[in-house]
Each structure stands twice: as C-alpha cells, then as structure tokens.
C-alpha cells in the first residue's frame, strides 16, 4: 500500500516530465529533445528527474548523465532569473568582449567558479558566437540581444535590472 502511494505521488510529482515523455513516445532516441523540454520546464535538470527519465526510457542513469554532462546547454544546477550570456566568439573577442564579462563579474561579485549570485537573480555565462557578429561585441540577457556593447553600457544595464527587481519587490 505504502509503496503504491509512493509511486503515485512520485508520478504526480513528475507529471510534467511524464507529459514530455509521452510527447516523445518514450523513445530513447529522443533523449536530447526530451532533456531540452525538461530543462525548459525546470530551468535546469534536477538529479531526481534525470534518474526518473532514465528509468522511464529504459536507459542506464549513467547514459543519461553522460549525455546531460556532455552538452553545454544542459545545466545540472539551477540558474539565476537573468542569464547573462557574453559572447566570446572571434568577432566579439577581437572587439573586447571579455571586458564586458569582467564588468559583470565585478558588479555582481562573481568569479570563474561562482557563476550565479546567491540571491539567484543572475547567472553569467560566456558563449562562443551568437551569430550577430556584425554587432560585436554582443551579449544576451535571457532572450534579448544587446549589440555594440561597451563596459559602461553593461554596467548600466545591470543596474537597471537590479533597480527594476527592487521596485518590483517593493510593490509586492
């Protein structure tokens, strides 16, 4: 009885995941799109979900972890509300993109290892080429592309977000 209950609550907890698995007919060949859809839902890949996906697809957890860790888009840790992606592709690099990342790190007190702020507001990533090289240097905050950036503009942008979040918190 208890076991059954556990299973029931487990599947309820993973309701969304089940839906995704159904959408891909539990096809193990679709592992990557499945993980992408799961990540869209949770914003990262929680450990227990990975194990659940592995069991459902009849794959070893090692195989699923192997895939999840191989691709840079999969995150095994939660990310901040604002994901700042600074492009470090050739065009952006040549035009000084790394100074943008430095400003972000400085302002948010992040470093090579600490990529997410403790309040879970920001995550900094560097990516190679966003395909908007004509506007180098480029950075993307969530889905919005900002081109021809300068360290000053970067600082202002971050201040604006922090300000916006503060006033949002005040009003709620």
């Amino acid at each position: 009885m208890i076991a059954e209950k556990q299973i029931l609550s487990r599947t309820r907890k993973f309701g969304k995941v089940c839906e995704i698995l159904d959408r891909y007919s539990n096809d193990s060949a679709k592992l990557i799109p499945i993980l992408q859809a799961v990540q869209e839902e949770y914003r990262y890949l929680p450990e227990e979900v990975l194990t659940f996906v592995a069991t459902s697809l009849n794959l070893s957890p090692a195989r699923v972890y192997g895939v999840a860790t191989f691709y840079s888009h999969f995150a095994l840790e939660p990310k901040g509300k604002y994901v700042i992606r600074v492009c470090d592709g050739t065009a952006c690099h040549v035009k000084g993109s790394m100074s943008l990342a430095e400003v972000v790190m400085e302002k948010l007190n992040l470093d090579e290892k600490r990529r997410t702020t403790p309040d879970m507001l920001f995550t900094l990533e560097t990516v190679s080429c966003l395909g908007a090289c004509g506007l180098a240097p480029v950075m993307v905050i969530n889905d919005e592309v900002h081109g021809q950036m300068t360290p000053e503009k970067t600082g202002t942008l971050i201040d604006q977000i922090i300000e916006m979040e503060k006033s949002y918190a005040r009003n709620n």
């Binding site: 193990s28 691709y71 888009h73 050739t90 065009a91 035009k95 080429c129 966003l130 004509g134």
Partner: protein, 631 residues
Amino acid sequence: MQETINLESVAAQYKESLKYNDFRIVICAGTGCMANGSEKVRNAFLNYIRESGLHVKVELKPEENHKGIFLSESGCQGFCQMGPLVTIEPLGLLYVKVRPEDVKEIVDRTIKENKAVERLLYEDPSSGEKCKGIGDIPFYTRQSRFVLKQCGHINPEDINEYISIGGYAAARKAFTTLSPEDICKEILASGLRGRGGGGFPTGRKWDLTRIQQEKKKYVICNGDEGDPGAFMDRSVMEGNPHSVIEGIMIASRAIGADEAYVYVRAEYPLAVKRIRRAVEDAENAGILGDDVFASGKSLRVHVMEGAGAFVCGEETALIASIEGKRGMPSPKPPFPAQSGLWEKPTVINNVETLATVPLIIKMGAGEFRKIGNAKSPGTKTFALTGHVRNTGLIEVPFGTTLREIVYNIGGGVTNNDGTLAEDGFKSVQIGGPSGGCLTEEHLDLPLDFDSLTGIGAMIGSGGLVVMNRQTCMVKIARFFMQFTQNESCGKCVLCREGTKQMLALLDDIIEGRATVETLELLEKLALAVKKGSLCGLGKTAPNPVLSTMKHFRKEYTEHVVSKWCSTKNCKSLVAPEINPELCKGCTVCTKKCPVGAISGERKMPHKINVSICIKCGACAQACKLNAITGV
C-alpha cells in the same frame, strides 16, 4: 491522397495579389537588426500608417484586391552594423539605422510624396555621397549575391513568395523528370564542393550513397555552424529557409531517401523557428509528404535542435547526437555514405551547399561553372568581422582576392577605436579554429579551396577576421586554442591532453615564463596533436598556432626572448617605454643602462631600444621623474 500543388498557379495568384500594393516596406528582421530594435520600427510603421488612414497589410491574401501598403519582414541582409534596415519598394530606397522616431517622416515624405528622406540614406564614406539603395552601395555592388540573393528580399515566412520567384520548381523537376542518376551527374558536372569546410565534391558524395543497396537512407542538413564568428548558415536558414528545404528534397531524391533531418544550433532560435515553419508550410502545401509532386515518393523532414557542442558539427558526431547519444566522433570508414544514421546510408551536407543545389538544377551545371573558378565553381559566403569598416555577411565568387574583400567590400582596416587606419593591415584569420592566418603578401591571392592549402590555411566554413596592427598574434592563437581545448570531446588523448598542454605553453609565452625551448616544444606538440587525433577538430586544432608561428615568428620570439609584447596586449609583457612628457633628458638612465639600450640627446626625451633592453630595471630605478615604465 494529397493534392499535387500547382506551382505556376500559386505563383500567378501571388503575383496578382502583389499588384494591389502601392508600396512594399521591407523591414529587416534578422538577428542583428532585431537586436537594434527593428521590431519597434515595424510597430511604429504599422501604427502610423493606420493612423494616417492608409491601408496596411501584413500578409497577402489573394482575395484582397484593394490597394494598400504591404509591410513585410526579411532575414539578415548582411549589413547588420547599419541596421535596422528598411527598404521601400518599388522605389528601391534603402534606409539605414532607422529608429521608430523616423517612421513618421518616412511615411509622410516617401510614401505620401514619393521623395527620399536624405538623412536616412547610406553615405559612402569614401566619396561622401548618399546612396539610394543597394544598387549603389559599394558593400553590395562589389559582391555577387547568389545563394544570399533572396535573403532580404523575400519574406522567409511566406512559402507563396518563395514559389512566386520560381521556388520548388527544381525540386519538382528532380522528382518528376530527372532520375537519381541524372541528378548526381548534374551536380557532379557542376563541380559543386561542400561549403561546410572540407570542400568535398557534393556529386561524388551523393553518387556513393545512391549506389548503396539499402532501402532506407537519410539526408542530414548540417546547420550546426559552431565556428565562432561565423553566421552564414544562420542567415540562409533565417532569410531563405525554403531554399534549404528544396536542396534537401533534391538530395533526398538523388540518393533515394525518404527521411531527412535538419540539425540546427540551439543558439539560433530564430533559424529553428523559421526552418520549422518552412517544413510545416511545405507539408501543408503538399510539397513534402506522402506523394511528392505525384511521384509516388514520400519525404519527411525533421528538425532537431543541438545542445551546445561544437564537435557535433563533425558528421559522425552529428549522427550520434541525432541518435540521442553523446556527440562523439567515430572512426571512418565506414563513411556515412555506407553506414550513417541508424547504420543506414546517409548524406550529410552543409546548409549553404544545399541552398546552392536548387540554383544549379535551375540554371544547369554549365551556367553554374561560369561562376567562380575551374576547381572551385560558384560563390562563397563569408562572415567578415574584426577590424574592418564594414563588418557583415558577404558573398563573392571563388577566386576573389583578399584585397578586394578587405578594402573594397570591407571598406578598409580600422583602428581599435573604429577610425580608418591607412596602413593598418596586419593579418586575416581565415577558417576559424581550423584555419590559419594570411598576411600582407597574400592580399592578391585568389581565394579558393586549393589556393590556401600550401600556406597552412583553409577556407573552412568562411570566417574572415581582419586584424589591425594593434593585435597580438600570440593572443589570437591562444584564443583559438582555448576554444578547441574547451570543445574537445575528450575521446583522443592527444586532442584532450595535447590541446591542454598547448594552451598552457601559450600561457607561459604570454605571461613571460617561456624560453626558446617552449617554442620548440609547442611546435612538436602541435604536430603530434595533428597526427594523433581522430577527427577534424583535433587534426586542425594546432593550425592557428602553427600558422601564426610561421607568419609571425618574430612576434613569438619577442615574447619569449625579449619578454615584451609590441602591441601591448599581453599585460605581463608591456614593453619598456619612456614617457616623452615626463622625461626631461637628464641622461642619468643612459649611464645606468648596462647594455646601452637608452639613447637620446641632453634635454630631449630619451628612447629605449626594446630589442637591446634586458629589462633589468636599473634605469627605472634611477629615473627621478618616474618616466620609465614596463621594466
């Protein structure tokens, strides 16, 4: 039974509906222009035209037969730096850097009075003259836009528009009047070579797959485009997605495949969206599906998003990724042509290659061969970036010289602050992390697949990074090394560990810990990584290092022996210098310098000869005015 589409009547109907437009306003909706706010411009047009009481359409419906202004969007037109771009047809006007505030004036003057808004036209910096449209902007007139021709003209999200310019006629020909063998022959005769980097003859690849006895076969379109700094494939997928689908159809027919995949980088959400839309629309129109052009053949196209791994652009890794595995390359043979996706014969082609195919079928191999040169027919798109005035996406025939690209299309080399540098050219890095450097002596070399092999470079997928004299070549080499080291899949020891060590050696050089032996070791290791790696990533990873070491040896030696970086990019190795504003010419330092590196006349600012200086610091210590830095 799906109904067979009549392309001619779709085209005729569409053209008929076009007649009912007084003006067509095309707003660039490529990634670059969107980032610059083209969506706001579009909304401003929509609102102001409505407010003015004019009739505005955002979609052409055949039954709508009263006059109006047609507002449409396009993919990237290559001139992103000048964006948002707005074209007004039939006047042929191109407005640059348009902001929502400008919209009122454009509508009032251009739409209502047929007059140009001069201040929004592009000004040719070399002549100072205003250009009316792409017909007189040197950036465009010097190019031959062939594959990119329709990007920027047609609405990528309207299949009827593609059909109205003759789209899908080549696919129909392939399915109804040509045999698979005919198609392979035609493509072989055209001399088309793959644009994904390798330059392998497409016709040969197809024919090898065609003759396989298996019933099930696949076509894969490689839209992974992982090269940093490259965005050619992105532009084609965003600007003319149906041309890619049509190329896939022809490839599928040529080899006998009934299923195809388009693998697109996840960093390209707009490309994913437009390709998906194109597949859906082609299915709904009865072009893709169970009975393609009533030929009895079926074709399904799937779109898959990548998950951020550069190595997945390699074909065997790409196949593994579609199969839901880690994207690790596997040894060849067997080649994908023999055993590819799910162990079935598979053709993998680059986006640009496939987008060229319908054009060849339409114009014939003979006509196609007239473009470009004998061994590399056709055109190549390049992403022109770095220290050049006009960065952007360009397309030129093979055989065009670097000089033409950098000076005439690119508008010349710029300083770091963006101003034009008269004598600023240092190098062009071509082919991204697999490629090498070209120097001044290569400016007149015709660019094609074969001309670069002798000098340690390659066309690659088409990244061209122009670098001015303020660029440190060692740092550039390190940049690419860092990239490949990050992206190594880890399967081969030499690629995994070798690139890591190479990176460490480059760091030694940049940070002043290196000796002459470091350079020897670096070279040795580079050759070993080339030899001992399984896939192209490892095999070509040392190229940027070897090529900069070959062409800019002096710069490496300076870093290692004199411990200085003449471009002042390497922070640990700033060159010794006397600040002429502080120096009063007391001559104290000349006397202290043990190697006689400092010279100058009494009471005049002194100078340090950096090639003699051993950086002992004696002079700086002696100088009362603190005029000496960098030792």
